[in-house]
Amino acid sequence: MTGRISRRRFLRTTGMGTVGLALGPAILTSGCTKKKAARRTLRLLQWSHFVPRYDKWFDPYCKKWGEEHNVDVIVDHISLSDLRSTFASEVAAGRGHDLIEFIDPPSDFEPSVLDLSDLNQEAVKRFGAQLPATTKSSYNPFTKKYYGFCHGWTIDPGDYRKSLWEKVGMPDGPRTWEDLLVYSARIKSQLGVQNGIGISQELDSNMAERALLWSFDTGTQDEGEQVILDNPKTVEAVKYMTELYQKTLTPEVFSWNPASNNQLLIAGKASYILNSISAYRSAQKDVPEIAKDVFFTPALKGPRGSGWACQHVIYVSVIPTFAKANADLAKQFLLDLCANYDRAMWESELYASPSFFNAPVPEGDRGYTRVEGAKILRDVFNAWFANDPYALPGEAKGKLLPLQDAEKWSANVGHPGPASPAEGEIFGTFVLPNMFARVAQGKQSAEESVKQAAAECRKIFDKWRAQGLVGGKG
């Protein structure tokens, strides 16, 4: 959405419509003369980033990278929900992009993508250790294959409205799920503002439900890829959610799409939501008075003290087998992207966090005011989260401080095991939101619902085990 480029495109478009013939040949010839001898082309496919500013930086970055490496780089952006279908059709066609960046682990594409062990090793060699949760989102321990390369991820904290929580005596927001239940119930009954945890067939709900399970010391699988969903702790979590629904939520949470909790927050109708900082950033632009009132909590703790959040977005890039010829370029591109991750963080308005915190900060003009004394990304990260460079004038300082240690309480889909195709299908077909919803709506008892969901999970696991992509036993 570069203003300048788009305007030129707009002119071209209208030109074709109105002056048509007069303008057409000029454009054609100008396009032709630029083309020189055959150059290699690297084609990237990724989502249109929710922060438009990021794409505005990224696309010219790619162009420049291409010039430096004597390659034409083409970046195609599509809607995040269309990534899988698009890549699926490319796999079927056996042709398409050279490098596809997913925002969740595309583990079921493993048979159609290259093993990136060498790339991951090289990255560790250059940048130091990778965040374990991001490794789990790109490595299949059962087949011992790196199907992807994870360069970054997004924190999924709790966003709360300070003014509301102050009125019920919790100015710093909830620390535990218990707090959330007790105080947001008060906020709802006293102030008429509901809580905003989704139980819908959509992404954010999927993440919220996982965070809840992990914080209750349970989950869909264990480290050995064995389904463990049907246990008393899951029942406990489901019962908790039912109570939360009855006391603090409304039926809207069953209807949500990923934008809904943002909008609820911005509308001033939510006391607490689980989301990335995107909701807050949107509020800063559209309804600053709400944004000023939004503060963050780290993952809420469960009854036994564990507290986990689900990584909101996990950037996993794959190189399809059909793009083997360009694999060297693609790998080089990814390594260079990691080396430039300070820019990625900056341009995404702190939405993206690096997988390699220990990567060095490059020298020279970085397009932002340099952080004094920052040697590695960690330093930059800490500085920005201590003092948000995108805070509005007059906004409270240090809002993002609670997120500084986010990697300690952020887990991957499939935690504590790896992200696998089975976990992917459970995620994609909304098994968990359905499990919680059935009980919240009073259609089933917690025990029955958990049992049903576990059975569904087992079937899915068995199926993918038969495909040879998931470990554990049936």
């Binding site: 707009f10 079927a92 066609a93 559209d286």
Partner: protein, 277 residues
């Protein structure tokens, strides 16, 4: 009194239908000019402006997004698909209506039945064909694939339409010195024009509506059609750009609705001949 009741019933009915059909578009119109700050306050009147209107969304749509190109792409694909559809469907319909006997009837039903194949998954095997032709990421892929759903409808419609034209007239042309093909172009085709107008308008509507194939085959933003282009550019992550989205939807709907409005009598005539015989 009875007349009064009938009249008020009539206008009441009209009002109901107009409100039912157009209310979402009214909201689109308002939202298009509404500041986000105004829009995102649930206490504000959604049917009018609480804060002064703004042109920001329209500017974003036309100057900073590829919306004009989406419109143009849709138009180009639409025109090409309509052309291919006519080239395929007109002779087929002619043959089924005039030449083929019983097996033609069965074939006609067969062509109709292709509608029952859900497109939800067809795009995956289709993408193999598209790559066979080397047309990934090109408007040509859509131009090639869209006739799969325009051709059956149009063949069916035109077939009935040709049947409604008296055979005498065509035979007269044969005797007046035309070849079979000549008689078709000189006599049958002009007489079938209302049917052809209908087919064109419907085919265009179907094309503008398509979503799944466009999604699977086009990734280059500058080549997207209206449906997928808008959702890619204006639904970003978990943020909907409501103003431009609504404005874009409204603007995209208008030209075609005008087409229907002005050609409605023709379309109705075309369908009347087409569907009843």
């Amino acid at each position: 009194m009875k007349r009064f009741l009938a009249r008020s019933g009539f206008y009441g009915g009209l009002t109901f239908f107009v409100l039912f059909a157009a209310a979402p578009f009214y909201i689109m119109l308002i939202t298009m000019f509404k500041r986000n700050h105004d829009l995102l306050n649930p206490a504000n009147n959604p049917f009018f402006f609480t804060e002064p209107p703004t042109l920001d969304h329209v500017k974003l749509l036309f100057l900073q997004s590829l919306y004009p190109e989406f419109l143009l792409n849709t138009l180009l694909v639409g025109i090409a698909v309509v052309a291919i559809t006519l080239v395929l469907a007109v002779p087929a319909a002619f043959s089924l209506a005039r030449i083929a006997g019983g097996w033609g009837q069965n074939l006609a039903i067969g062509i109709f039945l292709t509608y029952l194949i859900p497109p939800t998954l067809l795009f995956i095997p289709l993408s193999r064909i598209i790559s066979l032709f080397g047309l990934e990421d090109s408007l040509w892929s859509l131009i090639l694939v869209y006739p799969t759903f325009t051709v059956p409808f149009c063949t069916w419609l035109l077939m009935s339409f040709f049947k409604s034209i008296p055979k005498d007239i065509e035979e007269q042309a044969l005797i007046d010195g035309c070849s079979r093909v000549g008689a078709f172009f000189r006599v049958l085709f002009p007489l079938a024009l209302p049917g052809i107008v209908t087919v064109i308008v419907f085919a265009f509507t179907l094309v503008a509506n398509e979503y799944i194939y466009a999604l699977a085959f086009i990734q280059d933003s500058a080549k997207k059609t209206i449906g997928i282009g808008m959702t890619t550019e204006l639904v970003r992550g978990d943020v909907f750009y409501w103003g431009p989205l609504m404005g874009g939807a409204l603007i995209a709907s208008i030209p075609e609705a005008l087409l229907y409005t002005f050609f409605l009598d023709r379309i109705v005539a075309g369908l009347a001949a087409g569907t009843t015989r």
